[in-house]
């Protein structure tokens, strides 16, 4: 799948949240978008999923402008383009498996979805995905009863249920402690490498971007100011992206994630390998 973002802007009042951005994304890489709060990272992802409308521009997916899609076609695109949120955005009072099955909302009849008449095959698939992400035991619990890290994995399971070509992750680990953050990032990375799905993640920390991404995009004031491999993301470049003065310290953008041993037994166990 090839995505071409062409001169896309999103203007709120007089302020451009995303200012004439053009990008080409293709294949199945892990793309990280970094930048300060308000740099336009979230707005860009939300426009890709069509949760927000663009003010102008085009987003061509294999040649089709998805910004022009309406009704059923728009919903069909959304079901192929899964999204993971900072606050998980699960339905708190519903059980975990139901939340995963919501990934099929765009593909099953309204009656099926409203009255929980999912087929046995659908339910089995949801449970398999939960098992793959190491949260199968929680299937019957209410989503609100789970820890943040578990909820985020349920949200990723919902995304996988959509069988998407692309997963957008909007600050997926910003609400999690370092241990859970690593589990969630490892999960996303595994999905990207094993399933060949493209992952685009807004990230808050440089070290996470460096460790997981094949390509890093830096945004500042709604514009793309950096686009390259993680190796090119030097402290000087980061200073530019974050618009920092002399007091900028890279440590301030890091979480303790780097202090953890990579691939600890804990993380592996949580992933259910």
């Amino acid at each position: 799948m090839k995505i071409d973002i062409v001169n896309v802007s999103k203007i709120y009042g007089t302020k451009a949240a995303v200012d004439n951005v053009s990008l080409s994304l293709g294949g199945s890489g892990f793309v990280g978008i970094i930048g300060r709060s308000g740099a336009g990272k979230s707005t860009l992802l939300r426009m890709l999923n069509r949760l927000s409308d663009a003010t102008k521009g085009q987003i061509l997916v294999d040649g089709t402008d998805i910004l022009a899609l309406k009704g059923v076609e728009k919903r069909a695109w959304q079901s192929r383009c899964a999204m993971v949120f900072q606050q998980f955005n699960l339905v708190p009072r519903m059980d975990v498996a139901s939340n995963v099955l919501h990934g099929l909302l765009g593909r099953r009849s309204t009656l099926t979805t409203l009255f929980n008449l999912w087929s046995e095959a659908d339910i089995r698939q949801a449970l398999d995905i939960l098992d793959r992400l190491g949260v199968a035991e929680q299937a019957a619990k209410r989503a609100e009863a789970l820890s943040g890290g578990q909820q985020q994995r349920v949200a990723i399971a919902r995304a996988l249920m959509q069988d998407p070509a692309i997963i957008l992750a909007d600050e997926p680990i910003a609400s999690l402690d370092p241990m859970n953050a690593q589990v969630v990032m490892d999960t996303l990375k595994r999905i990207q490498t094993e399933d060949g799905r493209m992952v685009i993640a807004n990230l808050h920390t440089l070290d996470t971007a460096r460790r997981y991404c094949d390509r890093v995009i830096g945004m500042r004031d709604g514009r793309v100011v950096f686009d390259g491999t993680p190796e090119k993301l030097t402290t000087g470049v980061a200073r530019d992206i974050y618009g920092a003065d002399g007091t900028f310290s890279e440590a301030a953008t890091s979480t303790a994630i780097e202090t953890l041993q990579p691939d600890t037994d804990y993380a592996v166990a949580m992933l259910g390998d």
Binding site: N49, K74, Q78, M83, F88, P92, M94, L105, G106, L114
Partner: protein, 284 residues
Amino acid sequence: MSLAPHPDPADYLAMVRRKRLYGGVLLVLFVVLMVSGFRVADARNAGGFFDGLHRVLDFPAEIFTEAFANWQNLPGLFVQFIPSLIETLNIAAVSTMFGALLAMVLAFLSTRGLALWPRMTPVFRRMMDIMRAVPEIVIALVLIFLLGGGPVPAMIAIAFHTTGALGKLFSEAAENADLKPVEGLASTGAGWIQRMWLGILPQVAPNWSSYALLRFEINIRASAILGFVGSGGIGYDLKTALQWGQGKYDQVVAIFALLLLTIIVVDHFSDRARARLVKGGLEA
């Protein structure tokens, strides 16, 4: 850093005096309005308020004396009126159910952030205002004229009013719902009905059921009153029995006792149910 200039106590005292003066003027105005209003009302009254005051309790006294004299009739009368009581309760239950279902739809359509057609929200809000503003008895009288007496006009009338009243309360509860789950559902390609049903309803269900139960209690009274204008149920029996000089006051007492008992029982159980619902003790 310099301190603010020291305030003059005289200014503050002047302000206090001014406030007291305004307060006093308002109080005098209020008393004058009340007294003159009462005098106008009393002058237009056929009898005169103070002349009739000592007779206020004559009618209830007469009812109770007569009923007490015929006390052995009461158990039989209770049994006799139970079918009408059930009819009254049925009218209340059915109209609460239909009213609540319509109110759900209108609430979703008129709540900011949820509405299917955001520009139409004021239209749906005004619709609910109108439904709420028209008293049940007015609608019932018109419908009885058109459709003839019976429980159907009463049910339509009460359901109509209930829709307006519950729709407003439902919409206010929905306004406070968390939109994150709705956004999560939207991102998967969910349609509007799916977003409302799966994203909002689980959140608001306890509050909405609680409001609907409260409305059921109110509708029992409304349903009894509508009996007076010919919609059947226990209200109709009460109207017949209350007519003066028929010696049926024992029936009046039986009906009132039944109504009172029903309201107490419904109130008790719906209080408990509502407390459990709002605390989240039940599955939504």
